[in-house]
Each structure stands twice: as structure tokens, then as C-alpha cells.
């Protein structure tokens, strides 16, 4: 591994992008801290921020083009991890999305999101002369299909739902013809009944709960109503740390992971949410700008894919916490407590930075 520190590279660091991510990490720290004043989880999360930053620097140092070139290897590795979860998940039920590595538990589907973007960039540039030839489309569909099925069967509908908009964004960016795009969506919809039949009754039930949370009134439906109360009760200016009864009195479930936004919203109100949303807006806008400004096909797809990943995760998470979307287990990038999510988000950030820094090479 050669770390070449090029001055030109450093000149092109996208500071606003970094600033947005840093702001979000700070807001996350405050929220986690206020949830447990002893600071246990907040500091543990800081450790993950540290680990993630090192990973991010490594990603930046390695040229993203090399990473795209190595994508097939990553893809096989990622598929292996998903299969491991699938096999282990059968024997050790309940913890289907995680692999135990010594004291840590790793969530391979998180890492696979990155591998997914790199694989797309690899597959869709292999025939750049005729972008989106039929062969490229079929190949891409096959590449995407296998892991997608594995993820759905875990079942981790959340991750699966994130992958599809990312794919769609990249295809739209590459100028896919509307007819083909609609055709792909129709084909996907047509396959759903087949997949449905392959599932067992209780697996179907689990998926149905995602779509209709009130099938499980003690689980997700309760979460949604409590999250709404938490957010709404924050009103314009929030209740502050001590007044946030919803969060502190543990009415709110999953409050440091998927539902952390509700904690934040209760404490800081609409004003705080505006700041938070602006930070995400800045992150995503910079991402799109990097994608638009990239000159080279792999950089374009990587930047657009990563940006779409951030945008989709953020929008789906905020949508479900505010009651606009059904509840699927998706963490909020940079905010939710969790090592896998934080490290992967920072690595994704590294990819965006890397594309930007090498824009003029």
C-alpha cells in the first residue's frame, strides 16, 4: 500500500463536505450523551468515529479507480460475508444480520452497500463506449440480483430497499432510456410474487410487518406512535436535554439507533431539526456536485452512487421516524449508534473525497 501525499490532492479536499459530516457526528455525540449521561455509548461511538476516520483516510489514499478495479474481488468477499450470515443466521436465530468476530459483531449488509456501489461502477464502465448496452444491463442485473435476494431473505428489507434507489440513480445518471427503466421496474415487480411464494409463512409475516406495522401492534406500531409523540412534543424550540421525557424515560424504543432522530427532535425542536436537515442537505448537495463535476466515468458512478446512498438512507430513516414511511430498519448515517454504520459511512465519505481530489488528475 503506497500512500502518496500529493499537494494537488490536498488542495482539492472538499472542506464543506467534511464540515457537514463533522457537524452531524457532533450532533450525534450530543444526542447519545444526553441519553446516557454516564457517556458510555457516546464515547464508544467516538471510538468508532476514530476507527472510521482511519478507514476513511485509507480509502482516500487509495485511488478510487484502483478500488473500482478491485471491485470483483470485493464483490466475492461481500457475497461470502452475506452467505456466512445466511448460514449462521439459520442456526443462531434472532441475530440474522450480524456475524460475531471476537468481541465485535459486524453487520455485513452495511459493508455491502459500499461494495455494491463499487461493483456498479466496475460493471457499468466495462463497456463505456456504448453505455448501458443490453449486455451491461443484464450483467448488472445479475450482479445485483444475487446479493439482493440474500439480503431480503435475512430478512433485512431495509438494506435491500436502499440498494434499489442507488441503482436507479446511477442508471438515470447514465441516461438510461425511460422505456428500459420502466421495463426493469415492471420486471422487478413481476418477480415479486415468485419470491413471495418461496418464503415461509412466518417469514412473510415478518415482511408484512414492515409494510403494515399495525400487524404487530406491540412492536413497530408502538415505536412509530412514540416517535411521533417525541418529535411533535419538541415543538419549535425543543425541550432541552433534561426536559426530553419521551427519550429519557425510555418510552422511545431503539432510541440510540434507528430512532435517534426522534431523540434529537424532542430535545432541539423544529429549530434544531432545521440545522440537522441543512447539514444533511449540504452533505448530499456537495455529493451531487462532486458527481456532476467528475470527468471520468468511474468517478462519476462512484460519486453518484455514494451520494444516492447517503440521500436514500437519510430520507428513508427520517421518513419512517416521522411517520411518512413504513418502518424498515435503516440507520441514520453519522447519527445512529452503531460501529458498522459509522465506519461504513466514513468510508463512503472517503470515496466522495477521493473522487473530488482526483477530479483534475
Amino acid at each position: 500500500m503506497i500512500l502518496r501525499i500529493d499537494r494537488r490532492l490536498l488542495q482539492n479536499v472538499d472542506w464543506p463536505l467534511l464540515a457537514a459530516a463533522l457537524a452531524l457526528i457532533c450532533l450525534s455525540f450530543i444526542s447519545l450523551w444526553s441519553l446516557s449521561p454516564s457517556g458510555g455509548i457516546a464515547f464508544r461511538q467516538l471510538v468508532w468515529v476514530g476507527v472510521g476516520s482511519v478507514a476513511m483516510l485509507m480509502v482516500v489514499a487509495l485511488d478510487y479507480r484502483n478500488l473500482v478495479r478491485a471491485a470483483p474481488a470485493f464483490y466475492v468477499f461481500g457475497l461470502g460475508l452475506l452467505l456466512t450470515v445466511f448460514v449462521l443466521g439459520r442456526t443462531v436465530s434472532g441475530a440474522r444480520r450480524w456475524i460475531h468476530l471476537g468481541p465485535f459483531t459486524v453487520q455485513p449488509s452495511e459493508l455491502f452497500k459500499l461494495i455494491f456501489v463499487l461493483t456498479l461502477a466496475w460493471a457499468l464502465t466495462s463497456r463505456w463506449g456504448r453505455p448501458l448496452s443490453r449486455g451491461a444491463l443484464i450483467g448488472t442485473t445479475a450482479l445485483v440480483g444475487v446479493p439482493f435476494i440474500l439480503v431480503v431473505r435475512q430478512p433485512d428489507l431495509g438494506t435491500a430497499l436502499v440498494l434499489l434507489p442507488v441503482l436507479a440513480s446511477v442508471l438515470i445518471g447514465l441516461g438510461i432510456r425511460l422505456k428500459i427503466f420502466v421495463g426493469l421496474i415492471a420486471a422487478g415487480l413481476a418477480l415479486m410474487p415468485v419470491a413471495w411464494l418461496a418464503l415461509k409463512e412466518y417469514q412473510r409475516e415478518r415482511l408484512l410487518v414492515y409494510i403494515d406495522p399495525f400487524r404487530d401492534p406491540l412492536g413497530t406500531a408502538y415505536n412509530v406512535i412514540q416517535a411521533k409523540i417525541a418529535i411533535g412534543s419538541g415543538q419549535l424550540l425543543g425541550k432541552g436535554v433534561s426536559g426530553a421525557t419521551q427519550s429519557r424515560l425510555a418510552f422511545l424504543p431503539e432510541r440510540h439507533t434507528d430512532f435517534i432522530f426522534a431523540v434529537f427532535a424532542e430535545m432541539w425542536g423544529f429549530a434544531g431539526c432545521l440545522v440537522l436537515i441543512m447539514a444533511y442537505g449540504l452533505l448530499v448537495l456537495r455529493g451531487f456536485e462532486i458527481a456532476a463535476g467528475a470527468r471520468e466515468p468511474r468517478g462519476r458512478i462512484v460519486a453518484l452512487g455514494i451520494t444516492a446512498l447517503f440521500a436514500t438512507q437519510t430520507l428513508i430513516n427520517l421518513g419512517m421516524v416521522t411517520g411518512l414511511l413504513p418502518v424498515v430498519g435503516i440507520p441514520l448515517p453519522f447519527m445512529s449508534y452503531g460501529g458498522s454504520s459509522m465506519v461504513v459511512s466514513l468510508m463512503a465519505l472517503g470515496l466522495l473525497l477521493s473522487v473530488r481530489m482526483r477530479q483534475f488528475q
Binding site: Y202, F214, P217, Y222
Partner: protein, 601 residues
């Protein structure tokens, strides 16, 4: 945005811009929702959060009901009270648990254990004790205010016609075990079918729990129902069992150990299936303590064993029908063959006794069947040969499972010289002698005997015994249905079938027949008795012999097969045949009553 040079570059950034606008629009929508929740509706939510008193309660789905073939319920549900804890709502656990333990006389450790298994912030009720007495319910309700998080739920619970009714067919329902939890498809506290049809059809029977959200006031009293998701009841099962016949069979077997199988020879439908002693189904429904469970498992009478398909016994003389069929069809035996029975048969250095001291004198084949003469079958069994006997035994379905829809069926054993040779052990002529009268290594289950008898009655069709007709969802849709299915056919000439049936009729209706005790005016029954020695050819005490009676009726148009097996009962004719008689009496109630009045045919 990026400054492009060249048309493609422009197109790319334009498309990226389109995506940017879409995402920006989504963010604006989100801000709109936040504005709505926090500013427009903020006061309402602030109010709700200040007295966050929303409680959620599960509403248990009633388990599906099992019916008999005539629409009578075999098992039903009744409402029962369950004491549950909701960990997240509990305050001051130690005091509450201690007070409850004293009030309801439940060991404190049991309460603590139950709570220790679930996370402290779980919303899902932890079931502590099912089927509370009304008195206990009143006690808990009175002190409700002192016990936040302690609730009494109403759950449907199984109720059975009698404690042991059709226990081995229905199977028991019990709370999911730690082991079963690992499959990942159940929730803690779920009641699931553990044996019998309850287990086989659990997925259909279980239904889906509902739930309700209620608002409670500061004292924990419910103020209003906010939302209710109705539970979806389990599917209904129509079995082939006839409750009336099942009851009659159980009544006839009361106090005895053994099994009765009643089958329709025209379809293979199981009309009744008993195994006694049976276990009390209702002892599992509530809270079964560990001691009671261990007592049940270790009971020397093995009440959990389903003798009708898990008990393997020598068939005794019932097996003579197989030897007869084999001999007649193969030509090694004819109805004219005769033997003189003086009560014993010598072969080599050993003497083989007939069951009747002094013997039966001169007998032909029919006489040998009717009187169950062992000496005749010793002599002609050697002539028919063990290979042919084993082949016909297998053709009649012995030695292989019937495939009945109940778990744990045993296949029995049909020994043969080839099989013995493969394992490097010799086959002696003594083995053939033993086999000829249904003893030795030969093992059968009562349900196999029923299938075999049905084949004799219907002319050779081996049915897959059918127990389930259909499973119907509450919305009337069919979830599952089973049609009658053959799993084999025995080809014998019509003359042989006629001989088998007529000789079996003689067993019951001839003056010297061993099955005379089954005789019933107004109904022509055909049968074969069997007395299986548990220790072959020993002069064992009577109490150790198993009694068999395999029968069907009416002879000319067989409608039912009744197989009775009594463990350690003694002579088949003396013990098992009268039980079959009682069962026939119940089945053909009218016919028999008419005959008694002298108006029947």
C-alpha cells in the same frame, strides 16, 4: 454546477441536476412534515408526552378448532385468565414480586426467573401463570394500583370433552420451550401444539395475535381504546374421526392398557384411534410444574406413547391370515389340507405346544383358522416357507409405516431368511414355526394390523390411513385438504379373498370359533383373534400375553374395521373380542337394536 465541455458532459450534469432536484424536493417534504408535527400539532403531542399513558396489550388469537367427520367439536376454546408482567411498565420490582408471591402463593423464584429471561424494557407481556382462578383474578384486580405493569389478560384456552379424550390423536398444547424458541418462529409465551394433530397442523391452528392500544389515566385505569387490531383466529380442521365411535372405543378400553383402531375399509379413513392409558390433555394447558412432567415421562405405563402406531408387538395368531393368504395364493396350501392336532408339534429335539392343551383333533384349513390351531400352522407354515410368508406380510403392509398423519410412527419388523443371512445370522426351522403363528422376531403396530384387515375386507387395497379431511381458514378458504390415497395393492385371486373373509366370519360365528365373544345379533362380524406371547413359546403367565382382535363388519359389505389390542390382556378371544363387540354395538346402534326387537333381518 460543473462546467462542462462537450455534449455528453452536459447531459450527465443535467441528469445529476435532475436527481438533485428530486432529493431536494424530498428534503423539503420532510421539513414540511416536521413543521406539521412540531409546530402545527406540537401542542397536542406535548400534551400527550406529558402524560404518556399509552399502553399496548396483545389480544391472543383463538386456536383453530378440530372437528370430527360429522361436525362435532373434538376440542374447543374457552376464555381463561393469564397473569402477565409487562417489564417496561413495572416499578419497584422487588416489592411487587414479593407481594404477588405471597398473595397468589407462587414461589418468588419462579416470578424472578420469568422476568430474568426478558429485557427490562420489553413491552411484550411475560406470561407468568395461566388459567388463574377467579379468586386470584379478583385479588390482583383489587390491588391493581399498587402493581403497575402487572396485568390479567384474557386468553382463549383449550377445553376438551374429557381430560384424556382422543389424547394421542389431538396431542397437547404447551408453552413454547427454550429449545423451540431457537427456531426463531415463535415468541416467548406462545402456546404451540407439541404432539399429534395439534403439532402437525400448528401453523394452521395458531392464527395471528392482535393487539390494542389503550389510553390509561394516572391510576392506570383505561380511559379509551385508541386502536384495536383484531386477532385472526386459527384455521378449523375437519378430521376423519367419528366422535361417537372414538368415545365408545375409549369407554370400552377404560382401565386397560392397549389400543383400538377403527378404520373405514373403503377409504382408509380413521374413525377412531385410541391408546391407553392416555395422558390428561388439560394438564399441559395451564402451568404444568416440572415434577408433574417428570412423573408423566417416567410413568411405567407410558401414557405418552401412542400405542396404536408407536407400540410394536408380535401379532400372534392374527398373522395366520397372512400365512393362509400366502399358502393359498402360492398353491402350497389348499382348503382341503388337514392335520391332526394333539396339542403339540415336535421338530428336532424340541416340542412346540398348541395354545390349547390336548389339541383340536382333526382340523382342515378353515377349522385351523376358526379355532386358531397352532399345530396346523406349524406343519403347513414349513410347507408355505418363510420367504413366501415374509413376502406376503410385506405385501400386506407389515414392516413399513402406514404414513398416517401423526408423528413418530414405527415400522414394525418382518424377519426373513434373506434378511437374517445378510446380517450373517442363521435362520432355523424354529424361526419358521414361530413366524407361522405370528411370534418370534415379528413385530407389528395396531394401525398396520388395521390396514391389513381393511385390505382383507376390501379385496386388497392398502390405504394410507387418513386422519385429516381438510383445513379451512376462518374466511372459508381451504388451506389444506387431503383425499384418500392408496399406498399399495395386494393381488390375490377372488377365491382366496372369499376364503379369507369366510374363515374370519367363522372365527366369530361358528360354535367353536375363538372370536365368539364378539358375536352380535343383527350384524355379521368377521375377525381373527390373536394371543401374543411376550416371551416366545414360553409358558408365560396369562397376564403377560397380549390380546388381539382384528375384525370387520358386515361381512358382505364391510363398512368398518375394528382392531383391538390389549397389552398384557390375556387371550384375544376372551379379552379383545368382547371389546370389539362393544364398539360394533355403538357403531351399528340401530341395526343391533332392531335385531334385539326381532324386527331386524
Amino acid at each position: 454546477m460543473a462546467s462542462g465541455s462537450g455534449p455528453r458532459r452536459d447531459a450527465w450534469s443535467k441528469r445529476v441536476l435532475t436527481l438533485t432536484v428530486m432529493v431536494a424536493a424530498a428534503f423539503v417534504m420532510l421539513l414540511g412534515q416536521l413543521w406539521y408535527l412540531q409546530v402545527l400539532e406540537g401542542t397536542k403531542f406535548r400534551d400527550m408526552s406529558e402524560k404518556n399513558r399509552i399502553r399496548v396489550r396483545p389480544v391472543a388469537a383463538p386456536r383453530g378448532i378440530l372437528f370430527d367427520r360429522n361436525g362435532l367439536a373434538l376440542v374447543d376454546n374457552r376464555p381463561a385468565f393469564t397473569l402477565s408482567f409487562i417489564p417496561r411498565e413495572m416499578e419497584d420490582r422487588d416489592t411487587v414480586l414479593a407481594r404477588l408471591a405471597v398473595m397468589l402463593k407462587i414461589p418468588l423464584a419462579e416470578l424472578q426467573d420469568a422476568l430474568a429471561k426478558v429485557p427490562a424494557d420489553s413491552l411484550r407481556p411475560v406470561r407468568i401463570r395461566r388459567d388463574l382462578s377467579l379468586e386470584d383474578v379478583a385479588k390482583v384486580e383489587e390491588s391493581k394500583l399498587d402493581f403497575p405493569g402487572v396485568v390479567v389478560e384474557v386468553e382463549p384456552q383449550r377445553v376438551y370433552p374429557t381430560s384424556t379424550f382422543a389424547a394421542h390423536v389431538l396431542g397437547y398444547v404447551r408453552e413454547v420451550s427454550e429449545e423451540q424458541m431457537k427456531q426463531g418462529r415463535y415468541r416467548r409465551g406462545d402456546m404451540i401444539g407439541q404432539t399429534g394433530l395439534e403439532r402437525l397442523l400448528d401453523e394452521h391452528l395458531r392464527g395471528r395475535d392482535g393487539g390494542e392500544r389503550i389510553e390509561v389515566d394516572a391510576l392506570g385505569r383505561s380511559v379509551q381504546l385508541m386502536q384495536r387490531e383484531e386477532p385472526r383466529p386459527g384455521a378449523q380442521v375437519v378430521t376423519t374421526v367419528d366422535r361417537r365411535i372414538q368415545e365408545a372405543a375409549e369407554r370400552a378400553m377404560s382401565g386397560l392398557s392397549g389400543s383400538v383402531v377403527v378404520m373405514d375399509p373403503k377409504s382408509g379413513d380413521i374413525l377412531a384411534l385410541t391408546s391407553s392409558p392416555a395422558f390428561g390433555l388439560d394438564t399441559f394447558a395451564g402451568n404444568m410444574d416440572r415434577d408433574a412432567w417428570v412423573r408423566l415421562v417416567k410413568d411405567p405405563a407410558h401414557p405418552l406413547l401412542n400405542r396404536s402406531l408407536q407400540g410394536q408387538y408380535p401379532p400372534g395368531s392374527v398373522f395366520k391370515m397372512i400365512v393362509t393368504a400366502a399358502g393359498l395364493q402360492e398353491g402350497s396350501l389348499t382348503p382341503m389340507d388337514r392335520a391332526y392336532c394333539n396339542g403339540e408339534y415336535s421338530s428336532g429335539t424340541r416340542t412346540w405346544k398348541d395354545w390349547k392343551p390336548g389339541g383340536h383333533g382333526h382340523v382342515d384349513l378353515r377349522g385351523a383358522v376358526v379355532q386358531s390351531c397352532d399345530v396346523f400352522f406349524y406343519q403347513y407354515g414349513l410347507k408355505v416357507g418363510p420367504e413366501a410368508i415374509a413376502r406376503y406380510a410385506r405385501a400386506f403392509g407389515l414392516g413399513s409405516v402406514t404414513g398416517v398423519d401423526l408423528p413418530g410412527e414405527k415400522s414394525g419388523l418382518v424377519p426373513s431368511p434373506e434378511g437374517r443371512r445378510e446380517r450373517g445370522r442363521p435362520w432355523h426351522s424354529g424361526d419358521t414355526l414361530n413366524m407361522s403363528i405370528g411370534q418370534g422376531a415379528l413385530l407389528v403396530t395396531p394401525i398396520q394390523v388395521a390396514r391389513m384387515t381393511a385390505a382383507i375386507a376390501n379385496g386388497g387395497v392398502l390405504w394410507k390411513p387418513r386422519l385429516i379431511q381438510k383445513v379451512e381458514r376462518p374466511d372459508g378458504k381451504l388451506a389444506y385438504s387431503e383425499s384418500t390415497r392408496m399406498n399399495g395393492q395386494v393381488d390375490l385371486s377372488p377365491v382366496v379373498w372369499a376364503f379369507l373373509r369366510q374363515s374370519m366370519s367363522g372365527v366369530v360365528n361358528d360354535a367353536v370359533g375363538t372370536g365368539a365373544a364378539a358375536r352380535l345379533p343383527g350384524l355379521e362380524i368377521a375377525g381373527k383373534t390373536g394371543t401374543a406371547q411376550t416371551i416366545a413359546n414360553s409358558s408365560s403367565a396369562k397376564g403377560q400375553d397380549h390380546a388381539w382382535f382384528a375384525s370387520f363388519a358386515p361381512v358382505n359389505d364391510p363398512q368398518v374395521v375394528v382392531v383391538v389390542f390389549v397389552e398384557g390382556g390375556g387371550h384375544g378371544g376372551a379379552i379383545a373380542a368382547p371389546i370389539a363387540r362393544q364398539i360394533y354395538q355403538a357403531i351399528f346402534l340401530e341395526k343391533v337394536a332392531m335385531a334385539a326387537l326381532g324386527t331386524g333381518s
